[in-house]
Symmetry: C2
Subunit: 231 residues, 2 copies
């Protein structure tokens, strides 16, 4: 393979990783916007977040086509193949993060009233900060091809799950104490679940980054096993 | 390309579709088992369903690797490439149907008491029958490469969404009437949401079958647009 072809190939792999990073930035912003819209009951921001998800979906579809073309053209092996496969999977997780952010934004419109409890809002915000920082860290780990950083992200998911569980219990208590808040609390429960699932996608991405870099699978940890936990 | 190579290639594509069909059968059974476990509070069946999901995950991982190898080796174009891409996406949707069935099974264990309302159980069962028949029909459409049948599955998703919405409202009413059923109703809400999402995956599969057969995109219909509906 000539120098030129090789470098052209490297450029394609770099461009591919760049597209995934672009999707990551959009997914992060959608998630952050959806939760601030929720906490501040900002219907306009919620509507903008819902509209914005189309962009992430089309980026994903473009990228998927490009990656298959790349495989067909380059017939990659080993590390190159792992990088292309990881990009496909990570883009898929980011597209789903966008969907989950959109779900939260739709709940903002369904709730359409101030949150009954500042304490609850704080819980949801805290959970969001954690999940968002997980997402940022794993996208950095992907950009830097840092397997250890990816492993740390996987480990930290248990914390997001723990906050989710406490929010879940708190919401049930509010509902039992005051039937008038049941509808709002149910929407908040679904929001919290969506945020917890965003944390799970950060974990999936971490596992794909780790495999891409090392060729080894990260052992699934407790948090990951509980991904579909029943609370 | 020699006769032999061509027929070997056809065999590979047939084997690929067979693996997707196998995943489809397992996902259907997991879904049906999870809901009967829920309705009859059968903890053993619930646990078996949770354990069984591992099989679907490993089938998906094997298939994904096989499909990439196939693309690398055969460099497919046009219809062949569409069939391989569709298989990848449909397998991904089926793996997620398995996760959703597992979620329902985990809720059975969390509820761990008889359902308060037979009427509710009937609603959930009815929704399940519809979503399950959507899943069966779309897998048949995939096996027969029947674009029209796939289009009908997409159209019918609105009905699943409608039943979900009525169950959602009914559950809220129960909770407001009797705080003692709140915890159970919340778990049932999440179960109903998971079943509604299984219907959405049947719709995704329908869109991929339609594209695979025709090379054209099905216009997203109302039901699909509401996939992440806020109730």
């Amino acid at each position: 393979m000539s120098e030129h072809t090789v470098s052209a190939y490297d450029d394609e792999l770099t461009a591919m990783a760049g597209k995934v990073a672009e999707m990551g930035g959009i997914a992060e912003k959608a998630f952050a916007d959806a939760v601030s819209a929720l906490v501040s009951q900002d219907l306009e921001l919620a509507k903008a977040t819902i509209k914005g998800d189309v962009r992430l979906d089309s980026l994903y579809n473009e990228l998927e086509v490009k990656l298959i073309e790349l495989i067909v053209r380059r017939q990659p092996m080993g590390q190159d193949l792992r990088e292309i496969t990881a990009a496909t999977r990570i883009a898929n997780d980011l597209e789903r993060v966008g969907d989950l952010a959109k779900n939260v934004a739709k709940r903002v419109i369904a709730i359409d009233s101030d949150l009954q409890s500042k304490k609850l809002a704080i819980g949801v915000e805290h959970m969001t900060e954690l999940a968002l920082s997980q997402l940022k860290q794993v996208l950095d780990a992907y950009a830097r091809k840092d397997a250890e950083a990816a492993r740390r992200v996987q480990e930290a998911d248990a914390e997001v799950d723990a906050i989710y569980t406490s929010i879940f219990r708190e919401l049930l208590t509010y509902m039992m104490e005051d039937p008038r808040v049941i509808t709002q609390c149910v929407h908040l429960l679904f929001c919290a679940k969506n945020i917890e699932r965003i944390g799970d996608h950060a974990t999936n991405i971490a596992e794909n980054v780790y495999y891409m870099v090392t060729g080894e699978r990260l052992p699934e940890d407790r948090a990951k096993v509980d991904e579909t936990g029943a609370v």
